[in-house]
Amino acid sequence: MTTRGSRLGLFLAVALVVAACAPGGAVTSVPPPSTPGATQTTTIGPSTGATGAPGSAPVTSAQAVTLEWFSALNENEPYVAAYKQIISNFEASHPGITIQVTWMGRQLSTKIRPLLQSGTKPDIVEDDLQIMYAGLQKDGLVADLTPYLAQKDASGASTWKDDWSAGSLELLSKHGELNTLPFWVNATQVFYDQRTFDKNGFTAPASWDDLMAMCATLKTASLPCFGEEGGFADYNMFWMSQLTDRLMGPDALLAAATDKTGQTWLGPGYLAAAQKEASLKSNGYLPKGFEGSQYPAAQISWVNGKSAFYLLSDWLPSELVDKTPPGFVFRSFPFPTVDGKGSTTDIELFQWGFSLFKDAPHAEQAVEFLKYFTSSDAFKPLQTDYAFVSPLKTPYTPKDNADSQDNIRAGTAVHGYIGGLVAKAPDYLQTVLEPLNDKLIFGQITADQFITQISAASATYWKNH
């Protein structure tokens, strides 16, 4: 009885294994991408987006469509209010087009996966361009926008492509294609309250040493020099990223990170960068307990005057729009030169933008919407109310971010934030570099130990990948 019983179990088990391994298992049987035209919306009608100005040629109800837009924003982020206004304005002037936004938050890449293989086809996706590059773009799922960019823009007066400041789109070009439309760019800056400068008689520092001298002054007044969100590894990386950039150039971090032998890390510039990063804590320039601070505690403490400076990308004023105490004046300066090296016009940039899906069922209407969104009047509230710095050629100045916009306009070179590692070596960044960089900035290891350990860990990592 028992023997036979276990045999039945075994048989079932074997049958299931066979079933699992047979062709037709999930890995091999993912349905092929549906061919264009095979989706439920077969006829879209004459294109209105290509040449139509907003408000003209309203789509008839027979052609009513719902654009599906997946956003990596959370619905609670302050500027979403402006997004909603833009959407309702668009819908009002374009009867027949409804916009359905799913606010997915930063886990968009997690949540979007089911869509790519199920029946629903979204039209538009909005995310961090580095993340998009590493995911959707790399897998060839987003459309080449070059032909659309050659069309007229929403005003009908100029070519759509010319709505961006010269060269800014090409920076994102990949294999001769333009897959993404950046509309929000964020330079890494050192932020401060104008009143801090006034009180201490400071001027924007020209060099790292000047900056450290300011920190020393503040220390005598018991004010921590920098707020720092220690619990957020990406944020801690901005130090390493900026220091290596100034000392050795924008490609230095990526070069070290992707060196399969790990030897690049042993160069003297990296040690100097690590020493300077470690000196922040050893000199007492960071607040007590910053290691455990939970986002956004540190930036809120900072804006309330608990520390003087904040190194971050220029989304900082946007996030703090409704948290800024009265009297606070947002100012920022670029990361200074270090040991006489580097240039403040070399910009570390975080970019945010749209892509259009290759299989988008309503590509024409989606493009029409994108043209509307990127037109300067529609876009204005995001700049004037929510501090967005944009590569779009609009006449408006971003509230609280004028310094950053000036700096970006003066820029002579740009590179992706955190050395572009988010797109080019995300797993390495997350599993090798960030843990050690955390230890460095927390003072758990010295700069020398950091260099030894990162070099060895890099070699091990690349042996396996």
Binding site: S29, N74, E77, S118
Partner: protein, 283 residues
């Protein structure tokens, strides 16, 4: 004397210390629940002024915000649907199976029981990728129905196992008598065994309800639109949007919404649930 006295003394001292520890542990739980409930009615300003202070004006706004903007309202309905549907579904499916498995005599019975038991150890993380792909093919990702199906499936082993134990405790004589009276097998199950097993069924329902009410990982992976979020997933989204709102009191109002129903249910079912754990310990 030197041997006895220290031991005795130690016994008394250690008893008092142990009691103090245990009472402290239990009090911390009561205190935590009280603190959360209190905080949920405060304003953020009051909270940061004094984390221990009582709320001045009861901030019902916190609950309103959590319920509407925070998505806890739809989360609540979704949770009721998926946890309720899952619990009822799995018990309806498992009770007949457990009945036959506990009392039938046929080849492979033990193997089948073992096969079911094996599933209790299968970690969600092992199943989550293949199940995700499978549901994807049939369009049941981001669907409450899909989540209910998963909940039913993953809870079958535990439920079958618990109910086998319950049915095994029921007397055989009643069945025999009914059969002698000419009742069919199915009638015996439906009219006699099921009512007798009611305590077991209710317990299985209660455990599944609470377990599925608590479930987070499957919801997190399978649900993507806010309108479909369960309470746990909605709370997680609210926690992450803290980055933009810093609204701790609203978050604690959401915590109250998440744990309140479970605790109320527990107040009614605690005897039965605790007894069930005791019963489980008799396995």
């Amino acid at each position: 004397m030197a041997r006895l006295h220290p031991a005795r003394l130690l016994d008394v001292v250690s008893r008092e210390v142990s009691l103090a520890l245990l009472v402290g542990f239990a009090s911390s739980i009561v205190l935590a629940l009280f603190w959360i409930s209190m905080t949920a009615f405060k304003s953020n300003a009051e909270l940061f002024a004094n984390v221990w202070g009582l709320p001045g004006l009861l901030q019902l706004r916190n609950f309103d915000h959590a319920w509407t903007i925070g998505g806890m309202g739809s989360g609540f309905l979704n949770s009721v649907f998926v946890a309720g549907g899952g619990a009822i579904g799995v018990v309806a499916l498992s009770a007949p199976a457990a009945y036959v498995l506990s009392r039938g005599e046929f080849r492979g019975r033990e193997a089948l029981i073992n096969l079911f038991a094996a599933g209790m150890g299968a970690p969600a993380v092992l199943l989550i990728i293949p199940v995700f792909l499978m549901l994807n093919q049939v369009g049941l990702v981001d669907s409450p129905i899909g989540l209910v199906a998963v909940y039913v499936g993953i809870q079958v082993p535990f439920t079958v196992f618990v109910l086998i134990g319950f049915f095994a405790t029921l007397p055989v004589e009643l069945e025999e008598a009914a059969i002698v009276d000419g009742a069919s097998e199915i009638a015996v199950f439906a009219r006699i065994m099921l009512p007798l097993a009611r305590p077991g069924i209710v317990t299985a329902l209660a455990f599944n309800l609470i377990y599925l009410w608590k479930e987070f990982l499957w919801g997190l992976v399978l649900l993507r639109s806010q309108g479909h979020f369960t309470l746990g997933v909605a709370l997680n989204a609210l926690r992450e949007s803290m980055s933009f709102t810093a609204d701790w009191v609203g978050l604690f109002a959401a915590v109250v919404i998440v744990m309140g129903p479970a605790i109320v249910a527990y107040l009614f079912l605690s005897r039965r649930m605790l007894d069930a754990v005791a019963f489980g310990s008799g396995r």
